[in-house]
């Protein structure tokens, strides 16, 4: 399950870079408006928000490494 989550994280990261970079973004760039706002602006913000949502969901589920000892400063 953990491995699948890591794969999902990689997928989302790569998908995110593709959505904002690749021809996909140019396809959206039609001369169109949604509520008077250019479609490409809306597209970028919607992608962005969706990626943030995905990252929120994933960051709580990705495995906690056992040897991840927090660098704590209690001793000082």
């Amino acid at each position: 399950m953990d491995r699948k989550l890591v794969s999902a994280a990689l997928f989302i990261t790569l998908l995110g870079s593709l959505l904002v970079l690749s021809p996909v973004a140019s396809v959206i760039q039609m001369q169109q408006r949604i509520f008077g706002v250019p479609a490409d602006l809306i597209y970028l913000f919607v992608c962005w928000a969706a990626l943030i949502g995905a990252a929120f969901w994933l960051s709580r589920r990705l495995p906690h490494e056992p040897e991840a000892e927090p660098r704590d400063d209690e001793s000082r």
């Binding site: 490409d40 970028l44 913000f45 990626l51 943030i52």
Partner: protein, 543 residues
Amino acid sequence: MLSPDLVIAIAVGYVGLLFLIAYVSDRRSRSGKASFLRSPFVYTLAISVYCTSWTFYGAVGSAARNGLEYLAIYLGPSVVFIGWWFILRRLVRISHNQRITSIADLLSSRFGKSSRLAVLITIIAVIGIAPYIALQLKAVTSSIQAIAGVGEFPGRSIRGIDEVGLALGVAAAMALFTIFFGTRHVDAKEQHHGVVAAIAFEALVKLTALLAVGCFVIYAGGGFEAIFARAEAQGIAVITSDTFGSRWVAMNILSVAAIICLPRQFQVTVVENSNENHLRTAAWAFPAYMLLMSIFILPIALFGLTTMPPGASPDMFTLTLPLAANQQGLALFAFVGGFSSATSMIILESIALSIMVSNHIVMPIMLRFTAGKGLGEGQAVSSLLLNSRRFSIVLILFLGFFYFYLTRDSDALAPIGLISFTGIAQFMPAVVAALFWREASQRGATAAIAVGFVLWAWTSFMPSFETSSPLVASLMAEGPWGLGWLRPQALFGLEGIDPLVHAVFWSLFLNTSTLVLVSLFSSPSALERVQAALFMDLFRSSA
């Protein structure tokens, strides 16, 4: 009109408040009482030091000139944080294990603890950041002038002080503040809890200020739709067809590199990290912060373009729009927000750079000179360290001011920042190789960064002096010794493309090629192999 004295008094008072926050947080964290300081949200807010006055003022100018392009600067870092599992987590883990204190330290450690590499990176970082510091000085100077009502009358100045004098004053004050903030004591881990708390507070101030101006603009403009419709009616190209071209890709690459390699970002994200799991929160909260910061940028730009007199600098719309509507309170808040974004950047960037300068340049030299005799007591070492940091902070701000002075005729903010980003991006291939490529060698990394630096200096840094130096102008027109194929913005005959894309392409292409080729043809030392193994086998159980 708000008087200049009042504005300056408010700025000084604000810095005093910051200092108080830093001081109290430091004391509380040392007595172990400030658990909130170690919350993941303070960590995330501190990372938001990424949004400087480039964001607060420059992004509006950039949106007014080039439309959606400004978003690339925030989308790249968002993707890096959303993919924190793959790069940032490794960086934090390695740095905790190896007690890494800076980006120079990281690369030097991976490549056989090479001090030559650390010195090279430190020097490049100090030079590469100068334009970025200059951008902040320029923004603070222009904002003081705008709010004190001298912007529209270029002849007049604040009590006889011109732009250059004002910038020098700002630089000197910033150096003083940073010395107070960052060099009070030495921490073995190079962590600054007080400074981080102050930076986190500033992140809240600049966000609320920008959102307040945004809401005001939406209200005054009659909503999103009305603002876009009016802009279009006035013939402003709201929809452009070439947004997602090569410039867009180049800026995305630069911003990805910047969020990892900028000395201050490395400092807050990696060095100041006290718990790896804080990245889990920053992974979504930092992109969300940037989304909020950028949501009103384009409306502010368009509203400014349609309502402000032609010739008004779009870089200052965040401030001049409330002023024009006679909203003095809001204008003052916007000024404090912009001031916040500039001070947090300058304070943290010069602290991070001064750590690099003192650890990798000054201390090794001192140790060599005093070889055999020793440096004396621990007290003496620590005061030497602090003094070398104070000196470096002054030097860094002076370089920033000097760059500002030489390029003061350039008008836009964002292009200055992109020069710095391109310089700092030269570390990125080596960082990626350090994390993922076992065969990458010290010679390869050193040669790659040197090549990248030379190309950056030639194609990006030097051309910025075109207006102030006839020599540079003639080099750009004809090339050195009349060699046309060496012209800084048409290198090797690559003509007719955007200068930014040109510089990013040549510097990163040749940088990466050098890294790969030299690594393939050189054999690493034993120490390099050991260090490479430490970096590669990070998450393999140590059994």
